[in-house]
């Protein structure tokens, strides 16, 4: 439980708020490149600001404030000819990275981009998409650094055939075995969780000790301030930001990154377009249709009764908490270890900014930032009494065989 005052401090993102100020010191996903096929400018709704994205005279992407109607919806995409740019406002820089436009909503010098895999992989090996969640960004992030929830919220009561798993999470088989991941998650629901602070955020290790003397090791990451990096399948990872539109709405922006074959983007896109409305990227299953909830399915097939798409499960969990989760009534347990650790880093960074010390922020030292690589993110099986090192070796092997430069030395 935390005080209302602290909850406000770490969740609200408007200009001049403590968390808003912090997020304005990091590059924020602002649009998908696929949204820019229409004529410019394109509306961007980010951190409570109503902006327009266009190219300046030098051909560089920039954002600035646009004229706003008082009754316009929060998620609003007018046509280019209806956008009126305000010309007395700050101009913010934006850059394109493998399908995503990142913006820096601050007039200070932006930090460099770290050398993460999603940024340096070939364009053929990265696919980007986004989706709307109608809740505050922090609860959207916190579900991503909670390794235990996958054993419940995403539980399948039987193991689906893993053949049809391309581009979907938790459908693959465990590496070098014939065990479906769905089986591991269901049968071993109380993972041992280890959290380690790193130069980019947190490395989170979830150990599921199985009764055959082996351990399932899942490594996920928190990338400060509002992203995660997690395995999708044996060959792909997801790096996903939870970007505030305002205090009560956010987008997830995901960069799927392949260490193996080039990504079948057409298939990945079609799978996701089936579940979302354009141009808002609002999920077709949502609060208004009870997320497709079916009590019979909940009894016989899935833990939630909301279908097989785990994104819908996560969306239900975070939207159901309310627009901004009331953390004055929460009771965190041991399974929330990474969330507790993350909030500590968040509060420390907010404090540093209040003291005017930007150099104390994670990933703000440009001398070191290019040496931040990875992060390691995979699922492996190891002998229970010798699990440490197995993830690392599997990661090195995958990197060595990769067609783009994935080296981390």
């Amino acid at each position: 439980m935390i005080s209302q005052e602290l909850n406000d401090k770490i969740t609200r993102v408007g200009s001049g708020t403590p968390a808003g100020n912090l997020l304005r010191h990091y590059w924020q996903p602002a649009a998908l490149v696929e949204e820019l096929h229409a004529s410019l400018p394109v509306a961007v709704n980010l951190l409570g600001e109503r902006l327009a994205l266009f190219r300046n005279d030098l051909g560089h992407w920039v954002l600035t404030a646009r004229k706003t109607r008082s009754d316009e919806p929060i998620v609003y995409y007018p046509n280019a000819d209806q956008i009126q740019i305000l010309d007395d406002r700050p101009i913010y820089p934006a850059v394109e990275k493998n399908g995503v436009i990142f913006a820096y909503l601050n007039d200070s010098d932006p930090p460099d981009f770290p050398n993460f895999d999603c940024f340096r992989a070939d364009e053929s090996h990265v696919f980007a998409f986004k989706g709307l969640w109608e809740c505050n960004w922090l609860q959207a992030l916190e579900i991503g650094i909670d390794p235990a929830h996958a054993s419940f919220l995403h539980r399948f009561l039987s193991d689906e055939n893993a053949e049809d798993h391309y581009g979907k999470q938790f459908r693959d088989k465990v590496i070098q075995t014939n065990i479906p991941i769905t089986h591991v998650l269901r049968e071993y629901h109380c993972p041992e969780i280890d959290v380690e602070e790193t130069n980019y955020g947190l490395k989170i290790t979830a150990l599921r000790h199985m009764n055959n003397g082996t351990t399932h090791v899942r490594i996920t990451n928190q990338i400060f301030p509002e992203a995660i990096c997690i395995p999708l399948s044996q060959e792909m990872t997801i790096t996903q930001w939870h970007v505030p539109i305002d205090d009560e709405n956010c987008y997830w922006y995901a960069m799927f990154t392949s260490f193996g074959e080039p990504i079948n983007k057409q298939l990945m896109h079609a799978q996701r377009l089936k579940e979302h409305e354009l141009p808002t990227y609002a999920p077709k299953k949502n609060r208004l249709n009870n997320y497709g909830y079916d009590p019979l399915e909940q009894k016989t097939q899935t833990y939630t009764g909301m279908g097989m798409d785990i994104n819908v499960h996560d969306q239900w969990a975070v939207e159901g908490m309310g627009a901004i989760q009331d953390r004055t009534r929460e009771h965190l347990g041991r399974s929330d270890k990474a969330i507790i650790r993350y909030r500590r880093i968040l509060r420390k960074a907010i404090k540093a900014l209040e003291m005017g010390d930007r150099t104390a922020l994670p990933m703000h030292n440009n001398d070191q930032i290019k040496s931040i690589v990875g992060p390691l993110s995979n699922d492996t099986i190891a002998l229970t009494d010798d699990w440490s090192g197995v993830s690392h070796r599997a990661d090195l092997k995958r990197r060595a065989a990769c067609s783009w430069d994935a080296s981390i030395l």
Binding site: Q4, Q139, E142, A148, H149, S151, F152, L153, H189, C190, P191, R287, L288, N290, Y291, Y293, P295, L296, Q298, K299, Y303, T304, G305, M306, H313, W316, A317, G320, M321, G322, Q325, D326, T328, R329, E330, H331, L332, G333, R334, S335, D336
Partner: protein
């Protein structure tokens, strides 16, 4: 306010929500037969408090706060099993008076569950009607929990 009474049945964002405003000590909620359905779990708002009404396997009725005390997930979508309601987020299990009995993602031997209790309002069934003992409500933070 006391004595003022209204009942609304509306198609709301979360399943079919029943809204009742009535601050008498005992408040009439619904006819029992509305719960004669395969999954007797119903969202209900009583005097601004967001609640979930459910019948356990043994036939007892529970009327408890809607958000899981862990991280706030919506218990209207809970799994009705093991003689109580289980949160689909992490499997925390609650009995009909809102007492937590299991936290399956917590380490073996953890006693944390004993201190976890959801705000609750006692209910009784008389002549086919479900009543709530509003006056005896327990565990609500009056300032905070009147959220919409």
């Amino acid at each position: 306010m006391s004595g003022e009474k209204s009942v609304t049945l509306q198609k709301s964002p979360t399943l079919s929500e029943i809204i009742i405003n009535n601050e008498l000590p005992w408040v009439q909620l619904i006819e029992s037969q509305l719960l004669d359905i395969p999954r007797p779990v119903m969202p209900l708002v009583l005097n601004g408090k967001r609640l979930v009404l459910f019948r356990n396997d043994g036939g007892m009725l529970g009327l408890i706060g809607r958000n899981c005390p862990h991280r706030g997930a919506d218990l209207c979508y809970g799994r009705l099993e093991d003689n109580g309601l289980r949160c689909p987020f992490h499997g925390w299990h609650f009995n009909y008076i809102g007492q937590c009995l299991e936290q399956p993602a917590e380490p073996k031997g953890s006693q944390m569950y004993k201190a976890i209790k959801i705000p609750t309002i006692p209910v009784a069934e008389r002549a086919g009607i479900v009543w709530a003992h509003w006056k005896e409500r327990y565990g609500f933070d009056e300032a905070v929990n009147t959220a919409t």
